[in-house]
């Protein structure tokens, strides 16, 4: 792999603990969530190219969302 970046490589490749985040799919949208126990997760990031997804109130970062598949 060739990294082409102005950042110092030690900063990029510095190993840290594994990520506390998890990626899930909710209603067709990919979300990065932080599991908070009790089967729920807090939304950290929304990954979509559709701008209207970002306007949906239940998908705002910080909202709690069930991690397991809901009855959609």
């Amino acid at each position: 792999m060739i990294l082409y970046t102005p950042l110092p490589l030690e900063l990029v490749l510095m190993s840290d603990d594994s990520s506390p985040y998890q990626e899930i799919e909710y209603d067709g949208v990919t979300l990065v969530v932080q599991p908070t126990g009790t089967g729920l997760g807090k939304i950290i990031q929304v990954k979509s190219t559709n701008p209207s997804v970002y306007l949906r109130p239940e998908l705002q970062p910080g909202q709690q969302i069930p991690l397991t598949k809901t009855l959609i």
Binding site: I2, T5, V12, L71
Partner: protein, 243 residues
């Protein structure tokens, strides 16, 4: 941490009743009551490091190749999407992944416009120029510098040649898809005295337009307007075929 989980959380007053209600309708009736905001433009944000062959440590914010490529394929195919706006704030990343994304954007039939906000460094440069028309915010910067090898480097001439070849891939792509000449791009890449830790150049807003890398200085309004123009052109073309 504000939202530490308490063992038995007392029922909180529901502030965002609307949001909660919507989740409830999904749960209870299997329906979504999403406000029908129809948009014919999709927006692809490219943030942090562009991630390709290796997963980077979690302190890096990354844009993953395997997310972006299928999204681009879907955008190309979806008849409801008429244009794509690429918004860049990236510090570069994997050469192959960056070039792959750039090549897909170049080969799309749908109109594409890119906007560099904040930064579009290193491998972000080919991604920025891959769109049909490119914008840069007045305060945004683009760093152009030579490619470095990470990990074990064997000090033989072949290593240098290999790196040169990789660098040429980037240079050739940028030269082909922007107004900048190969000589000028190489000059910027190997400039001394500009960067503290490296050789290369930092282009701020207007500089990137003056050297011919980016088409215009502007923000979201100009970018959307340009995209709309392209979309209308495309529609007229289609109309011509029909009649």
């Amino acid at each position: 941490m504000q939202d530490k989980h308490e063992p038995t959380p007392p029922p909180k007053p529901r502030r965002q009743t609307q949001g909660v209600k919507k989740i409830d309708t999904i749960k209870e009736f299997g329906q979504t009551d999403v406000p029908a905001v129809k948009t014919n433009i999709h927006c692809l944000p490219i943030i942090g490091q562009i991630e390709g062959h290796l997963i980077l440590p979690p302190q890096n914010k990354t844009t993953k190749y395997e997310h972006i490529i299928p999204q681009l394929v879907a955008i190309e195919q979806d008849p409801e999407i008429e244009g794509l706006l690429i918004i860049l704030n990236t510090v570069g990343g994997d050469v192959e992944a960056g070039l792959a994304i750039a090549e897909i954007i170049v080969s799309m039939t749908k109109p594409t416009v890119s906007l560099v906000l904040g930064g579009g460094h290193s491998i972000g440069v080919p991604v920025a120029v891959s769109a049909r028309y490119s914008f840069i915010a007045e305060t945004a910067t683009m760093t152009i510098h030579p490619i470095r090898l990470s990990g074990l480097v064997i000090g033989v001439p072949q290593t240098y040649e290999y790196m040169d070849k990789m660098q040429d891939r980037v240079i050739r792509f940028v030269e082909k898809h922007s107004r900048i000449s190969e000589a000028k791009f190489r000059e910027l890449m190997f400039q001394t005295g500009e960067l503290a830790r490296d050789i290369g150049t930092v282009l701020v807003g207007r500089d990137a337009v003056e050297v011919g890398l980016i088409d215009e200085v502007g923000g979201i309004s100009k970018a959307i307007k340009k995209l709309q123009e392209f979309i209308n052109e495309e529609k007229n073309k289609k109309g011509d075929y029909l009649h």
